[in-house]
């Protein structure tokens, strides 16, 4: 059992390759670039492709082409790159093209601070595509999570044929930690379901009882049709409003109704607690310390660390917050995920603390906020 001393970005790259990723493309951007550098080391010896685009728009386009050709693909960037990915995220949603997108978040808005962390893209990842259909957003806390959640991200992209985001943060991406990869609880690998050879292939026809159309690769032995326009089950452009409505509803439901099966979290509940501290991302690390100290001081408090941010695991969150009278959401932005909690809370009082100055939120600050 060997220990690895690696940062979050390297963990993502290693996990991606283990998950079967064989196509990566990106455009240089701090603090995501080292994912690309790791992929360059790992992919070509496995006959994989690792490519530098002329911009982020091209990079994600390469990935979509590769995914349609049947390869597991990933790209990595930071906020300014996600901005340029937007139109192709929409295409991946409508065309049901599996893709893993890593956002190593840095402090925005705009160019912002390239070497300072933030969790300022959380709602942007959810809503940064035209049409507003749901996406999957997973948020790692540390290097270990980067590894495990990346493997889940590939599975979810394959299983649900959709874009899956990993919402990392400069602090996680560029901090080295010791992890024992062999001992991690990693999932079995999933691959998109192919259309059986003895069945006719209609690109967006969903078998009864399922919500995901079987896949065939562009360039394979049977002809494949893909389009960014509204389409019918046969993959032809359609203006039939009944069909359009059914397809859009399916794209929404295929994720929202299944989020219980991929809700990742750590829930440290104290039955005596009246307050629940709710966090995600790197802030969870300070929250753990804060909770430990408060408990030492005799205060009862519960801690929920969410790792599946979108689709919002509503039932699960409600269940957790129903145990308490007060929910405190702490995040590295001026109040993004708290909006989801506010709409889910019934009688509970929801308060928020967030800041965006490039500094991590300290355990002491969290304790002060909770003491208010």
């Amino acid at each position: 059992m060997a220990l690895s001393f690696i940062d979050g970005n390297e963990a993502i790259a290693r996990a991606a390759v283990r998950a079967g990723c064989r196509f990566f493309s990106g455009y240089p951007i701090t603090p995501a670039t080292t994912i690309y550098q790791q992929m360059l080391k790992l992919l070509p010896p496995l006959k994989g492709v690792c490519l530098q685009g002329e911009d982020e728009i091209a990079s994600i386009g390469f990935c979509l082409g590769a995914s349609m050709a049947g390869l597991k693909a990933m790209t990595a960037t930071s906020g300014p790159g996600i901005s340029l990915y937007s139109e192709q995220i929409s295409f991946a949603l409508s065309g049901e093209i599996p893709l893993v997108i890593v956002d190593v978040q840095r402090l925005g808005p705009s160019t912002g601070s390239a070497t300072k962390g933030a969790d300022g893209d959380i709602q942007f990842l959810r809503w940064g595509s035209s049409g507003g259909l749901p996406v999957v957003v997973l948020a790692p806390v540390d290097v270990r999570d980067c590894y495990i959640l990346t493997m889940h991200a590939f599975n979810l992209a394959e299983q649900y044929r959709c874009p899956v985001f990993i919402a990392s943060n400069k602090e996680i991406g560029m901090t080295r930690e010791s992890i024992e990869i062999d001992s991690l609880d990693t999932p079995d690998l999933l691959t998109r379901k192919y259309c059986p050879e003895d069945q006719p292939y209609l690109p967006f026809q969903v078998p009864p009882g399922t919500m995901i159309p079987p896949f065939l690769p562009i360039g394979g032995s049977r002809l494949v049709r893909q389009t960014s326009s509204t389409h019918d089950p046969e993959g032809y452009i359609t203006a039939d409003t009944d069909i359009i409505g059914q397809v859009i509803e399916r794209l929404d439901k295929k994720l929202v109704t299944n989020v219980d099966t991929f809700t990742f979290f750590e829930f440290d509940s104290d039955p005596d607690a009246e307050t629940l501290l709710l966090v995600y991302g790197v802030t969870a690390r300070a929250a753990k310390t804060a909770v430990e100290q408060m408990r030492k001081g005799g205060k009862a408090i519960s801690l929920l660390i969410l790792k599946t941010l979108y689709p919002v695991p509503e039932d699960f969150i409600k269940q957790c917050i129903n145990e308490v009278k007060r929910v405190v959401v702490v995040e590295m932005n001026l109040g993004q995920y708290v909006r989801e909690i506010e709409r889910l809370a019934e009688s509970q009082h929801v308060s928020h603390f967030g800041k965006m100055d490039g500094e991590l939120i300290s355990p002491e600050l969290i304790q002060q906020v909770i003491a208010l």
Partner: protein, 269 residues
């Protein structure tokens, strides 16, 4: 195989206006594919958005109808993943050289084995007649009611400077010449650019007093001349047609194979 077997007939009638040159270009393209005896499953037609991009819906090959300007980006991903495929990318002038201009020059620079067809009608048709980077100066368009002041790209010069290893031009009038050039472009190993002048009587012709489709087709004939022809020598302002570049240069997918071979050797040594 008959040309009609390359069409998804269920999709017809097509959406092009009467007199549009795009159907004629599709005809030339399908005949080129037929003469080359390519298998349907070995062709990926990747397109963006616009009148020209609809081609990918009409042909019975693998088809990847993507986003405005991004066809070459997606096509690059497909080609690198499955290098044996014939990847053909029909684009309009706006799709290829306005919103897609960056991908166009970089695909040419890489010399990746893709056939790019620029169906140049010098106007945005689908959105109602706006000028494009290929319209040129002094043209009337819905976004240039006082005539354009924007200079145009010369696709042949641009593609050549950017590194495309096959560059040609023909017109919707010269259907057999187009077929012949497209055959060579598809067979060429490297980035091939074929500009085919098309006509848009609905928007360009009407606004710029070029008459109906027939008179616009006449202009393709009278305003152009073959490279090396006496007509061109006598009248150098004519737009030259023919093959301008046909060179043997390292192709991107083949070069990437070398990267893989090198990386595998490094890994084992």
């Amino acid at each position: 195989m008959a040309v009609k077997d390359y069409l998804r007939q269920r999709f017809f009638p097509h959406m092009w206006c009467p007199g549009c040159g795009h159907g004629t270009i599709l005809n030339s393209l399908l005949r080129a594919i037929e003469e080359l005896e390519l298998e349907k499953k070995d062709i990926v037609m990747t397109s963006g958005i616009g009148c020209s991009a609809r081609i990918s819906g009409y042909v019975d090959f693998h088809s990847l109808h993507t986003m405005h300007g991004r066809a070459l980006a997606c096509a690059t991903g497909v080609k690198l993943s499955r290098p044996h495929l014939n990847v053909i990318v029909p684009m309009g002038d706006g799709d290829a050289l306005a919103i897609g201009g960056n991908h166009f020059i970089h695909a040419a620079r890489r010399n990746i084995d893709i056939t790019a067809i620029v169906m140049n009608n010098r106007i945005y048709g689908m959105t109602g007649g706006q000028f494009s980077p290929l319209s040129g100066v002094g043209i009337k368009a819905t976004t240039a009611p006082y005539t354009t002041i924007d200079n145009n790209f010369d696709v042949v010069e641009l593609a050549t400077a950017a590194g495309a290893s096959f560059v040609a031009r023909s017109t919707a009038y010269h259907v057999k010449e187009s077929t012949d050039i497209l055959k060579q472009a598809i067979q060429h190993k490297g980035f091939s650019v074929v500009e085919i002048l098309s006509q848009c009587p609905t928007h360009y012709g009407r606004k710029n007093k070029e008459g109906d489709a027939v008179s616009m087709l006449e202009l393709h004939k009278t305003n152009t001349a073959k490279i090396g022809s006496k007509a061109l020598e006598k009248n150098p302002v004519l737009t030259p047609r023919g093959i301008f570049v046909d060179t043997d240069k390292p192709e991107y997918c083949a070069e990437y194979e070398k990267v893989i071979a090198f990386a595998m050797k490094e890994k084992t040594s």
